[in-house]
C-alpha cells in the first residue's frame, strides 16, 4: 500500500479501498476510462445516468466526450437541477474537457464549425471557448508543470479538440498552463476543471489531487 508521486506518475499506486463513492457521469464519452483509474486507486466508482444514481456520492467526475451530446442527455433525463444541488451542497466536482464546458458559466466563440452553446450546469466562474485549438488535426499532447507539485516532473497532457479557458473570474485559481501561458486547468473551491484528459494517461496525479479534494487525508494511511 503506497501513494507516492513516483507510483502515481507510473500508474502503479495502490491505496486502501475507500469508504466513499465517486460518481462518473456516464451519459456519453470516456467515462469508463475514469472509472478504471478510480478502481485501480481503490476508489468505489459509480456510473451516473439518472438522478437516482447521485444519492450517496462524495464527489463526481464529468468526463470527456461531446459537450452538446452530454448536455442534451442531461436535460432529457432530469440531471441538471440535481447536479446543481450536488454542487451547492459543497460536493467536489471535476470536469475534463467536455466536463469543463459543462461546468463553465460562459461560452465564448467556437473555434471550428457552427456556433452552438451546449446546455450546461454553468456554475464555475470561467469563460471557455469550444474547440479553441482547432480541429482534430490540431489535437496535441504537451508537458505541463503542475502548480500543486512544482518539484515533480511535468504532466504529459493530452488535448483532443480541446476547449480553452479564455477568462477566469473571482475565486478561480489557475493550476496549470501551456508554455505560452494559456491556462489549461483551474480550481474554484470544490470545482476542478482540466481542458485535457488525465484519464487517457497512466499518470494518476490529477485523480489523486481530486480525491484529496474529496477527502484531504486520502492516500495518507500507511
Amino acid at each position: 500500500m503506497s501513494i507516492s508521486p513516483q507510483n502515481l506518475i507510473l500508474g502503479t499506486a495502490q491505496a486502501e479501498t475507500t469508504d466513499f463513492k465517486i460518481g462518473v457521469l456516464a451519459l456519453q464519452g470516456d467515462f469508463l476510462e475514469h472509472v478504471n483509474v478510480l478502481r485501480q486507486l481503490g476508489v468505489q466508482a459509480v456510473e451516473v445516468r439518472l438522478p437516482a444514481d447521485i444519492a450517496g456520492l462524495a464527489g463526481l467526475i464529468i468526463p470527456g466526450g461531446e459537450s452538446t451530446t452530454i448536455g442534451k442527455l442531461a436535460i432529457q433525463f432530469g440531471l441538471v437541477e440535481p447536479l446543481r444541488d450536488f454542487i451547492k451542497n459543497g460536493r467536489p466536482v471535476w470536469g475534463t474537457c467536455a466536463g469543463m464546458i459543462f461546468l463553465a458559466k460562459d461560452i465564448g466563440a467556437t473555434g471550428s464549425g457552427g456556433h452552438v452553446e451546449p446546455p450546461r450546469l454553468a456554475t464555475m466562474n470561467i469563460r471557455v471557448n469550444r474547440n479553441a485549438f482547432g480541429r482534430q488535426v490540431d489535437s496535441f499532447e504537451a508537458d505541463i508543470p503542475l502548480a500543486f507539485a512544482p518539484h515533480e516532473p511535468p504532466f504529459r497532457a493530452v488535448f483532443i479538440r480541446a476547449p480553452r479557458i479564455e477568462a477566469v473570474g473571482e475565486g478561480v485559481e489557475i493550476l496549470a498552463k501551456l508554455s505560452d501561458g494559456t491556462p489549461v486547468a483551474a480550481r474554484q473551491g470544490h470545482l476542478l476543471v482540466t481542458a485535457f484528459h488525465p484519464e487517457l494517461t497512466n499518470d494518476w496525479r490529477w485523480h489523486a489531487y481530486f480525491l484529496k479534494m474529496v477527502q484531504p487525508n486520502w492516500g495518507t494511511k500507511p
Binding site: A26, L27, Q28, G29, D30, F31, L32, E33, R49, G64, G65, E66, T68, T69, K72, L73, Q76, F77, C97, A98, T110, S112, G113, G114, H115, V116, R130, N131, F133, G134, R135, Q136, V137, D138, S139, F140, E141, A142, D143, V158, F159, I160, R161, L178, S179, D180, T182, H197, L200, T201
Partner: protein, 304 residues
C-alpha cells in the same frame, strides 16, 4: 496553435497515436450519423449525435443507384464542417490514399476507409500511420480488425451490411470479433503465434489484445442499425458505440428517431427507458433482408 508552422514549444506534439485513439475514446457511448446535407447535419447535432459522417449518398441509395461510389465532393464536406460544432468524418475508398490526403487537407476529423465505397485497390489498404488525422476501418473478425490496426487504424467498426436496415450482419460481426477475443484470452501463450498466423494478424497486436481483453482501440458497430433496440442490442453485445447510416434519414421521422437512438445508446441496459423511447417513432427505413442478397451484392466482403 500547434500546426506545423506555429509550434510554440518543442514538447508539444500533434498527430500522435494517443491523440488519434483519444478522439475515438471521446466518441464512446455515442452515435455517429450519416448525413448528406448541412441540414441533415444540423438535425443530427440537435438530436445529440457525437459526430457525423459527411457523404453524398447514404448506403441505401448507393445500393439503388449502383455505379462507382467515390469520396464525396470536398465542398459538400466543408459546408457540413462549417455547420456543426461536433466532429465530422468522411469516407475514402479502400486503398485510395489520395482521397485520404484530400480529406486531411480540408481538415476532416476522422477518415473512414470504407467498404461502402467502391474499392480502389483490391490488394492493399491505405498506410494510415503516415497521416496526421486518424482513420476508422471496418472488420468482420479479429484478424481483419488487427490487420487494420497494424496499418494504423485508430478506431475499428464492425462492418455489418450497410444500407440494408437489417441488423443481422452487425450482430454476426460483433459476436465474431468479441468471441475471437474471448477465445484468445483463454489461450496459453505458446499458442498465440499459431493463432496470429491462422487469423492473419500481427503477433504483437494479438498479444496486446489478449492482455487487454479487448481491441487495443475503440470498437463501434455499424451496418444495418435502424431502431433504438438495434443500437442497444449492439451495446449489450459489448461494442463502444454505434454508427447509423441509412437508418435515420431513410425513416419517416429522422429527428425523432435520431434522438431516440442517442438515448438508447446511453440507457442500453435499461429496458424500461428503452420501451419509452421506442414509442411513436414513425416508419423505420424499409430495408432489405440480407439473406436475400447474393454474395456479389454484399458490401462487407470488400476489404482484405
Amino acid at each position: 496553435m500547434t500546426t506545423e508552422n506555429n509550434v510554440p514549444n518543442s514538447n508539444e506534439e500533434s498527430g500522435t497515436w494517443r491523440v488519434k485513439v483519444g478522439l475515438a475514446q471521446m466518441l464512446k457511448g455515442g452515435v455517429i450519423m450519416d448525413v448528406v446535407t448541412p441540414e441533415h447535419a444540423k438535425i443530427a447535432e440537435e438530436a445529440g449525435a457525437c459526430a457525423v459522417m459527411a457523404l453524398e449518398r447514404v448506403p441505401a441509395d448507393i445500393r439503388v443507384t449502383g455505379g462507382v461510389a467515390r469520396m464525396s465532393d470536398p465542398a459538400l464536406i466543408q459546408r457540413i464542417m462549417a455547420t456543426v460544432s461536433i466532429p465530422v468524418m468522411a469516407k475514402a475508398r479502400i486503398g485510395h490514399f489520395v482521397e485520404a490526403q484530400i480529406l486531411q487537407a480540408i481538415g476532416v476529423d476522422y477518415v473512414d476507409e470504407s467498404e461502402v465505397l467502391t474499392p480502389a485497390d483490391e490488394r492493399y489498404h491505405i498506410n494510415k500511420h503516415i497521416f496526421k488525422i486518424p482513420f476508422v476501418c471496418g472488420c468482420r473478425n479479429l484478424g481483419e480488425a488487427l490487420r487494420r490496426i497494424g496499418e494504423g487504424a485508430a478506431m475499428i467498426r464492425t462492418k455489418g451490411e450497410a444500407g440494408t436496415g437489417d441488423v443481422v450482419e452487425a450482430v454476426r460481426h460483433a459476436r465474431t470479433v468479441l468471441g475471437d477475443i474471448r477465445r484468445l484470452q483463454s489461450m496459453p501463450d505458446e499458442e498465440l503465434m499459431t493463432f496470429a498466423k491462422e487469423i492473419g494478424a500481427p503477433y504483437e497486436l494479438v498479444k496486446e489484445t489478449k492482455q487487454l481483453g479487448r481491441l487495443p482501440v475503440v470498437n463501434f458497430a455499424a451496418g444495418g442499425i435502424a431502431t433504438p433496440a438495434d443500437a442497444a442490442l449492439m451495446m449489450q453485445l459489448g461494442v463502444d458505440g454505434v454508427f447509423v447510416g441509412s437508418g435515420i434519414f431513410k425513416s419517416g421521422n429522422p429527428a425523432k428517431r435520431a434522438k431516440a437512438i442517442v438515448e438508447a445508446v446511453t440507457h442500453f441496459n435499461n429496458p424500461t427507458i428503452l420501451a419509452e423511447i421506442s414509442k411513436d417513432l414513425g416508419e423505420p427505413m424499409v430495408g432489405i433482408s440480407v439473406s436475400s442478397l447474393s454474395e456479389k451484392e454484399t458490401l462487407a466482403s470488400r476489404g482484405w
